[in-house]
């Protein structure tokens, strides 16, 4: 009975998490319809206002509507987070799979991965942005650099295990070549852990991207991203706390939702890899 209750609670939490993510996705897609004002529209008269019927979340120091900017911020969040996930998962799988399958390549590549992992993620991203310059694509690349190593580590460990399985031995003995073994027999077994990893990567990368925006090295300041809004509004937090409050709550909710969904997915999708993943999760 107790187990049933817990399963229900967990499912409810995961459901709530998925709900939040769907809302964020909806806001991102239908931002022009959902927003009440132009997110870039300046209005000197309505500066630093508290929430009202006209401006639901208040206004910032340029008189821009915080609600509309928050809605458009969802769009930036989905775009940048998806960018990091796509980059880091693709290259993470590529490096991890090849390293696990070909030992010599793995020796060199995993050493490099270890070195990259010894750099704190935010510092690495800052250094890469210093070289590449600011802008959305460069931010995505800089943040991916850390997370692709995390994915590569996990995929490397799993590939090593799967490679030794009897069924891989069997297909090799009937003459399957390396490409066939990797693509048809190893890769499909990696799908579940990759989905779990992608969820957590999304959560962590959102925090990272928001931090870079806050530090002023992310996307250009006029672009409505949640990190930018907090960064710009922080001088005025005593006069218009909405600038700090609303984008922050949206970041927390989105990251929390990804973490909750990720936790449940990890339990459901692949209990075998649960320990392995939780070891290397961060």
């Amino acid at each position: 009975m107790r187990d049933f209750f817990q399963a229900l609670v967990r499912r409810k939490i995961a459901l709530a998490g998925s709900g939040v993510l769907l809302v964020i996705l909806f806001l991102a897609i239908f931002a022009p319809v959902v927003a009440t004002h132009d997110p870039m529209g300046l209005n000197a008269v309505d500066r630093l206002q508290n929430p009202s019927a006209k401006h639901w979340f208040g206004t910032d120091h340029f008189g821009r509507d915080i609600y509309s900017r928050t809605v458009y911020g969802a769009r930036m969040t989905i775009i940048s987070g998806s960018g990091v996930v796509i980059y880091s998962i693709f290259f993470g799988i590529l490096i991890g799979l090849l390293s696990g399958y070909f030992r010599e390549f793995g020796l060199v590549a995993m050493r490099l991965v270890d070195v990259v992992m010894s750099f704190p993620p935010l510092l690495l991203a800052l250094a890469l942005i210093a070289i590449l310059g600011p802008g959305l694509l460069n931010v995505i690349l800089a943040v991916s650099a850390t997370y692709l190593t995390h994915t590569a580590r996990i995929i490397f460990g799993l590939t090593l295990k799967i490679k030794e399985e009897v069924y891989v031995e069997a297909v090799r003995s009937i003459g399957a070549n390396n490409r066939r073994i990797i693509l048809r027999h190893i890769l499909p077994n990696l799908v579940s852990p990759v989905i779990v990893q992608a969820t957590f990567t999304f959560a962590f990368s959102l925090l990272q991207i928001a931090s870079l925006d806050f530090l002023g090295v992310g996307v250009p300041p006029q672009v409505p991203s949640w990190g930018n809004m907090i960064s710009e509004g922080r001088i005025y937090i005593t006069r218009a706390p909405g600038v700090l409050l609303f984008p922050g709550i949206f970041i927390v909710l989105t990251v929390l939702a990804f973490n909750l969904v990720g936790d449940v997915l990890r339990d459901k999708l692949d209990p075998r890899f649960r320990e392995h993943l939780s070891e290397i999760k961060r």
Binding site: R2, Q6, R111, L112, D114, V115, V116, S118, F119, P120, P121, L122, L123, L124, L126, A127, L128, I129, A130, I131, L132, A203, L207, A210, S211, F214, L215, G216, V217, G227, I230, S231, R234, I237, T238, P241, L244, G248, I251, V252, V255, L256, N259, L260, D263, S278, R282
Partner: protein, 315 residues
Amino acid sequence: MLKYMCKRFLSMIPTFILAAVMVFSFMHMMSGDPAAVMLGDSATPEQIQALREAMGFERPIHIQFARWFTGILQGDFGNSIFFHKPVLRIIVERAETSLFIAVLSMALIVVVGVPIGVISAIRYNSLADQTFSGAAMLAASVPTFWLGLNLMLIFAVVLGWLPSSGFPSIYESGNLGDLKYLILPCVTLAAPNSALIIRLTRASMLDVLREGYVTTARAKGLSELNVTLKHVFRNSLISVISVIGFTFVGLASGTVITETVFALPGIGRLVVESVLRRDYPVIQGVILIIAVAYMVINLLIDCCYTFLDPRIRIS
């Protein structure tokens, strides 16, 4: 055991060299002339040429690396383009604040995180366990800068209990009361980073609780406190220590944000300022030093293992 430690130390050397190669290549990955990029748009051709010569950009790349690397081995990280001072001296000047924050936050994480993890494991599935687990997940989902700004707004601006920013050097003044400047930054830094320790302490305690020797200890009639502290906690400590290296990386990232939020004169803020000023020698120096610190911490952790786990010691 000495042999193991020597071997472990020697294995650090190639990693260090690779890290140095990577950090060095950062500067050469940018498109265009690095000297022109560093000096910005307002630089004259003469200034660019002078910097190019000073940095040795005219020489072949392997010679540049050899010079840079031998310099680093002697503690010479080059000169900052903005401050016109040796990078190492700037880092040392800024180290006090960052070290204080890192050490105090780490202490806070361990002092708060470990007991919470232990309680959650002992009271598995209770209301306390679920509350703590929920709080840990929430803490891991809050951006450091947002938490910092909120704490500042509440405790410094509205309530006026604590200073909102800055940190006078305790090393110079000797006034330990100034540590109050670090309370908000340390709490800000510790909260998101304690989540990992809480979850790991809980998980490893739960693993040990299922071991046969714990049942034996209980069957012998030992008190629950005795079983928890001597048999369970001690054995779960090993995996908790393993995560301290990860926590250090988290703290190093978090320091960058915390120091910016609370306007603290530390290494983290130095990095952000250097990125904005394109002061590459400083960025390279800080990143390499932090990477080495991480490697050394992991080395120390591995050495701790050998003390804590007799199985490793014997093998």
